[in-house]
């Protein structure tokens, strides 16, 4: 059993990175992630972490600096939120398409406008198709553990893709929870040293990193990238199992099922709201309602098979999104779950739910009302209109 401490989500992310032996960290402040890089800055200033921190002048440079470092063979880390993520989009897209592994923490924050700094998933959702692996954490222990798992997945030779560990801003970033710190030696044993097989920017091997590339060759690279994402599905599962063996904690791999065995109706959640949803499921079960919870832990690559396996034999499911999909009148996760199930050719009642935007609360009462709606929906086959979780209740 490792040391027990009380730590915020941001501190947990920082500790995860420190334990993973990161060598280069780029730091730029933005609410609500600033204390991630502040914590690492203090560790480095105290000599507790033998890494180099580069205090850059914008998030665009934050991603560019780690891009250069990883290209030269480093294990690197940075953190950002909303506007910072948007600003770094140019080198962010390049990080995955150059196949440079790293872990970046995203303390999820609503994208401006309207102006706000509070929690939401819109930022990481907006960049879900930039080729990164994206995990969503439910609590601070999971943040720390997922950063460590993230490096192992990212640097696997069949993956070689960067990883986002996303967690809801303020709800987790600033919340103190009980954390168990793994021992440094255990983490060292779990993640081997980064040994790039594809390239390192080195005069001994004078290669051009990313020459001008025409379409027919570009397509080969994209095919290989898509294949790597598919490989990641299995490797994410396997890494979580290995983590359980080494540290005694598991998160179910790609998804986690909670009380789904005999459930007719399922709540699908992602992120910190999952904790509240568990409470609601338990409360409804007390009343004899056969409700279950499907927690989506990994959004990219999308766990199509897992989602199908869990949802295909149910009467109804609701997807609670802490984000919107502007093109559809639903949240983004709802759309993707529907797409995964589309291949089954079955009609299962579904309810798109949007709530908790901009740091608004998703309460247990909200979930109870969702489960009530699901019970109704389960009686027939209906594509329910979008439900909004407002302060006064479900609308």
């Amino acid at each position: 059993m490792g040391k027990i401490i009380a730590a915020t989500g941001n501190t947990s992310a920082a500790l995860g990175a420190a334990l993973s032996g990161v060598q280069v960290v780029s730091a730029y402040p933005i609410t609500p992630q600033s204390s991630v890089v502040e914590y690492l800055a203090k560790m480095i200033a105290d000599g507790a972490l033998p890494a180099r921190m580069v205090q850059v002048e914008s998030e665009h440079s934050a991603m560019s600096v780690v891009q250069g470092a990883v290209a030269a063979g480093a294990r690197a880390f940075t953190a950002t939120s909303a506007q910072g993520l948007a600003l770094m989009y140019e080198p962010y897209f390049r990080m995955s398409t150059l196949r440079l592994p790293m872990v970046m923490a995203i303390a999820g924050r609503e994208m401006t406008s309207p102006e706000g700094v509070w929690g939401g998933q819109q930022d990481s959702i907006s960049v879900r198709d930039a080729g990164w692996i994206q995990y969503y954490a439910e609590n601070n222990q999971e943040i720390l553990d997922t950063v460590i798992q993230g490096y192992k997945v990212a640097e696997n030779n069949d993956v070689l893709l960067p990883v986002n560990v996303c967690y809801d801003g303020f709800f987790l970033s600033h919340l103190y929870e009980r954390i168990e710190l793994p021992e440094q030696s255990e983490v060292d044993a779990f993640i081997p040293k980064y040994n790039p097989v594809h390239y390192a920017f080195d005069p001994a091997k004078p290669m051009a990193l990313d020459p001008m590339t025409p379409g027919d060759i570009l397509m080969e690279y994209r095919e290989s990238h898509l294949q790597a994402m598919q490989n990641a599905l299995g490797i994410i599962e396997q890494t979580d199992k290995e983590f359980e063996k080494a540290f005694g904690r598991s998160y179910g791999g790609l998804v986690e099922e909670y009380r789904c065995e005999d459930a007719d109706i399922i709540l699908v959640t992602m992120g910190s709201m999952t904790g509240t949803a568990r409470e609601a499921i338990d409360a409804k079960r007390e009343e004899g309602i056969k409700a279950g919870l499907l927690k989506i832990r990994v959004m990219r690559p999308f766990p199509v098979e897992k989602v199908r396996n869990v949802l295909s034999e149910r009467k109804a499911f609701a997807v609670v999104d802490r984000n919107v999909c502007f093109g559809w009148n639903t949240g983004a996760l709802y759309m993707e779950v529907k797409a995964a199930l589309g291949g089954l050719g079955k009609r299962i009642s579904s309810i798109p739910v949007i709530g908790g935007l901009g740091g608004a609360d998703i309460t247990q009462e909200h979930f109870m009302q969702c489960i009530d709606l699901l019970e109704e929906a389960g009686k027939s086959q209906v594509e329910h209109k979008t439900v909004w979780l407002k302060k006064e209740g479900i609308v």
Binding site: T97, L98, L160, H198, M207, A208, D210, P211, I217, E220
Partner: protein, 88 residues
């Protein structure tokens, strides 16, 4: 067949080389009577086509684009730009 998974070629497998000699309309020719082998032309050649062999300056035609900078800069006006004789 080289593995083509990642966006990187290896420099020692190949340098991209264009046949820039085919661009020329004029070629530089050194007038050996005037040339003092000072080498100033070599420092100004954008394609690095001017070399020194022993004490003598020479101009390689392999990549010369015929820009004429060498002829223009020669302090002794010892380089003439001679037409390649192509059809217009």
């Amino acid at each position: 067949m080289r593995e083509r998974k990642y966006i990187t070629p290896v420099g020692d497998e190949g340098i991209y080389v264009l046949d820039t000699a085919s661009w020329r309309n004029f070629r530089p020719v050194i007038n050996k009577d005037k040339c003092t082998n000072c080498g100033i032309c070599s420092s100004y050649c954008p394609v690095n086509s001017i070399y020194k062999e022993g004490k003598e300056i020479g101009i390689s035609m392999k990549y010369c684009k015929g820009c004429g900078v060498c002829a223009n800069e020669c302090p002794k006006k010892a380089i003439d730009m001679i037409s390649e004789g192509g059809e217009i």
